[in-house]
């Protein structure tokens, strides 16, 4: 993980994360970005369930291009509030979107066009505050958003970059296609014969994937279908502790700065409480040819 972040997430990079919405959020990758002290990032995503709040609170972020930044089950993002209201720990530029418009912005980049038209956001003041949105002839033009890197967490991948994900995908595909490159973190590292047995389930062209990191539990506290339920209590504790800047700093030390990596972090958690134990396998698809 440290090497992937070191090589592909430089200072000033634009980074798409949390593109599966509330599930499969790449928290382990985000925490490594914080540990490496990255600065001036642009974060791109739809909603962000606490991860963007943490990166903002840690001072890594210059701009947020997103539809929603907070804590889904608990409400407000306290670090996001401090940055926008008091410039603490630093000032933050916000490019507001809706969920639909950030998806379109990424599709525009994926298809290599300057913008895509839509009716969403007509009548919304978001058109006034985001310079990358304009209107003409009762249509909104959503300018392309092109991340330098998209980071995604999936159930399984092989070391050549074929990632399998299942469950709802949010804006994962357009984020991967729009980005210059993709970092995949996975619960299971599998042989190519597993991924290639079901090419429909492969998320991105392997040519986009720059790094694959085997990081079990790398999405905690967000859920991963078939592996972990959402750790609601962890989000509740984060909301309570991050209410003050001092509380957030203590939280950050305990869960990010004072742990060398994800395996040490997971030792602090009773994973059995949220591990999914009753499996529910889909029927296999027949790719036979003769």
């Amino acid at each position: 993980m440290a090497e992937a972040i070191e090589r592909f997430v430089p200072d000033g990079a634009s980074v798409a994360m949390g593109v599966g919405l509330e599930a499969v959020i790449p928290f382990a990758a985000g925490h490594e970005i914080i540990r490496q002290g990255r600065r001036d990032l642009e974060l791109i995503g739809p909603i962000s369930d606490a991860l963007f709040d943490q990166l903002i609170g840690a001072g890594c972020v210059r701009r947020v291009t997103a539809a929603w930044v907070g804590n889904v089950s608990e409400g407000l993002g306290h670090c996001y509030r401090r940055a926008c209201e008091q410039d603490v720990p630093r000032s933050l530029e916000v490019h507001d979107h809706s969920n639909f418009s950030i998806s379109l912005a990424l599709w525009a980049a994926a298809w290599n066009v300057p913008s895509l038209p839509t009716r969403t956001l007509l009548g919304s003041d978001i058109l006034r505050t985001n310079p990358n949105l304009s209107t003409s002839d009762r249509m909104v033009q959503v300018q392309a958003v092109r991340p330098d890197v998209a980071i995604v967490h999936v159930q399984r991948a092989d070391e050549l970059g074929r990632a399998h994900a299942w469950g709802p995908l949010g804006i994962t595909e357009e984020a991967g296609l729009a980005a210059e490159r993709v970092i995949v973190t996975c619960e299971e590292l599998v042989d190519p014969e597993v991924t290639l047995s079901d090419p429909n389930r492969i998320l991105f062209p392997e040519t986009k994937v720059a790094a694959v990191v085997h990081e079990p539990g790398g999405a905690h506290p967000s859920p991963v279908q078939g592996h972990f339920r959402r750790d609601h209590a962890f989000y509740r504790d984060y909301a309570a502790q991050s209410r003050s800047a001092e509380g957030f700093e203590a939280w950050l030390r305990k869960w990010v700065l004072d742990v060398p990596g994800r395996s040490a972090y997971l030792e602090l958690i009773d994973l059995d409480r949220i591990r999914i134990k009753q499996h529910r396998l889909s029927a296999p698809a027949d790719f036979g040819v003769e």
């Binding site: 739809p46 003041d125 859920p223």
Partner: protein
């Protein structure tokens, strides 16, 4: 919660979204709307409410047994085609014309409060056929004019505002609060008090509203939850995570 669920009609395709509406959908589906379907912007369609507790729409129980697991843009496609009958949107502030603010209190360049943002709220407000918002009834939340329109309702309240501005759906039907139900006239305009919840009064609702609230001639007490509605609330929120 029971009141919100009653806005869902049997057979509706409902854009459910996050937090409380997840429970309203479950209640409707288990009482008066057994053939409604729910859409979730994460990329899901369901008929039966999830078997387990949901903190978010992306929780594993919401995916197991889904009718469709897909990408967000496919779900938005249905809404952009006008195929979503009802949406739910939460808000921090709402004004007399049903415009919602979930972005900035005060100047966006130097906000007094930075709220989380639109999420899918603006999309639902503009594209779904009709929608409902749920809110704690306080003067600071029900305001004369919102300082920032994240999700447009009936705009400046003038007749035909939505159509003139190219908004696809019909806009807000109701503001359901902790004190009562405010509705809008057909074709848009200003909210009026349609009913007050048991234990509250018209005067109290007017006092807690940040504008001179109109009251329907036929204003009445909101019907209490039925046994079926209460049973569904207890079943889908057994620990009172969303309802206490």
């Amino acid at each position: 919660m029971a009141v919100a669920s009653r806005e869902i009609r049997d057979g509706d395709l409902v854009f459910v979204g996050m937090r409380l509406p997840i429970l309203a959908y479950a209640v409707a589906r288990n009482s008066h709307a057994p053939t409604a379907r729910g859409l979730f912007e994460v990329g899901l369609m369901r008929d039966q409410p999830a078997a387990g507790f949901l903190g978010t729409m992306g929780d594993p129980p919401n995916v197991a047994g889904a009718l469709w697991a897909t990408r967000m843009s496919n779900v938005m496609a249905l809404m952009a085609q006008g195929r979503v009958d009802l949406g739910f949107i939460g808000g921090a502030e709402v004004d007399r014309f049903g415009n919602l603010n979930t972005s900035y209190v005060g100047d966006p360049n130097k906000p007094a409060v930075k709220l989380p943002g639109s999420g899918g709220g603006a999309d639902i407000a503009i594209l779904s056929r009709r929608w409902v918002t749920l809110m704690t009834h306080e003067q600071r939340r029900l305001v004369e004019r919102v300082s920032f329109i994240t999700s447009p309702g009936h705009g400046d309240g003038s007749p035909g505002w939505r159509e003139q501005n190219g908004l696809l759906g019909g806009g807000p039907l109701a503001i359901i609060t902790t004190l009562g139900v405010l509705r809008f006239p057909e074709g848009g305009g200003e909210a009026y008090l349609a009913s007050f919840h048991p234990g509250h009064t018209v005067d109290e609702v007017r006092r807690e509203t940040g504008w001179e609230l109109q009251v329907a001639d036929a204003v009445r007490e909101t019907p209490v939850p039925t046994e079926a509605e209460l049973a569904a609330i207890r079943r889908f929120d057994p620990e009172g995570f969303w309802t206490t």
